[in-house]
Amino acid sequence: MSRLIARFDVCYPSFHLNVSLDVPTSGITVLFGPSGSGKTTLLRCLAGLERASDGFMQFGNDVWQDEARGVCQPLSTRPIGYVFQEPRLFPHYSVRSNLLYGYKRISAEERRISIEQVVTILGIGHLLDRRTHKLSGGEQQRVAIGRALLTSPKLLLMDEPLTSLDIQRKQEILPFIRRLHEEVRIPVIYVSHAISEILQLADRVVLLKQGILVGVGALNEVLTSLEFRKSFGSLRVGAVLDARVASHEPQYGLSKLEFKGQFLFVPLQLVAIGQPLRVHIFSNDVSLVVDRMTSATSVLNILEATIVEIREIDQSSADVLLDIGAPLVATITRKSLAHLGLKPGHRVFALIKAVALNEELTE
């Protein structure tokens, strides 16, 4: 499988980035971390906009930078699409000319993405003859994304493209990003500090903290890791599961989702059976029982789990890392932990009081 391998060591007056990265060149990889953690700098290094004195960058079989051999291709010769925080549209060109700027600069054989395709995916057909300053922020950013796509890049870098937009506009663009990834199959590296964006977009997360890489892996693995808990404890992520719609129970207003042979009930979703649906569980909404309930319970969502690890968080609470075919974290009191005598390897049942769906997530 093709991989992106990068290594950068670069010093700034008040900041030091030292990162070694090795991720597959597929799907959406989110660079996540608090502001000042070096996400944007890392992205700019990947693009060649910042030049690390000690740097290496290989995409598949192509080496774009190898400072040991004095090689560093400028951005203009790398097949990279870059979407900046601000749209950076060219004010002296119309929307159409902006879209065609990069398109005209690649050879006909390189053009894998057509204008019609981009216009359809991004819904910008009615804007083509407009002036850029007449567009809303969301429209401008969509044009900027389209402009980058039309260079038929092999890699799309996006630097918090939604930061300058309000929540409504964000929700307008997020599905586009997911969709364009599904339709044009370009690997995306996406910088974000918003958990809601990660939950909706990421296949893979790279966790950064003060210029150092502190975690990398599949979305659910990273979000349920101890390192994530240490750095972003207040978010209390229990799990992010890519489930599938198994059936609908309209008489109760519920949809039944299947995840690795177990079932979850969520409020009725207007999607076809078999469709994937990403759900999110807060660790505070997970309770544990040792025996299968003999008496009935009002909790619908009960999953069989195995205890993997117990992490004592503070004086009163502990995180129990469970395996349900994927990691799931339950935050319980230390008193309960002692009372139940929980140990790694024990079989337990996780009672899930609430399951959130993507659309409901806000920051």
Partner: protein, 223 residues
Amino acid sequence: MAITELDLSALWVTLRLATMTVVVLLIVGTPLAWWLAHTRSRVRPIVEALVALPIVLPPTVLGFYILVALGPHGPLGWLTNFTLAFTFTGLVIASVFYSMPFVIQPLQGAFEAAGKGPLEAAWSLRASKMDAFLTVISPIALRGYISAVVLGFAHTIGEFGVVLMVGGSIPGQTRVLSTTIFSHVEAMEYAQAHAISACMLVFSFLVLLGVYIANRRFPIHVS
């Protein structure tokens, strides 16, 4: 009539001088202004101060040193092996220095205002450095260019002290409008001095008015 053939030749010299000066300054000034707008070098304030010097310096001081430099014993005179003082070429060299801030500063301001953002965007869209400069930065900085051309041109037309020091006032070669006015006044030909002065006043006003109206009315679009 008050305007003589001598006055017309002075007008011709003046226009040639101003045009040549602006052309030279655009060629030399664009990279210099670009460097000033983007460098983090420590010598930047020194260069900026040098460029701005003609604004505060008495033109005679500037003219005196340029005259010395151009003279047979000066570095430029030694280099060219003959003196450029009291020639049209010498006058162009002097004017380039004298009008430099009026061209460099608007360009530098325009490049700074444009910022690195559009440039990086153009690079990411496969434009080479030169391509990005020509197709993105230049149009965005067009108003800076208009200001630079107009101010550089008008300022060169208006110079007097440097012209007199370096060029003398040789009719047909280095006699320009401003020095012609001075000669007329010295010869008590007030009517002729007045005619040329009034023309220059109206011309300058109209040029500036045109620039301000153009800047206000027409946002810059290419396609």
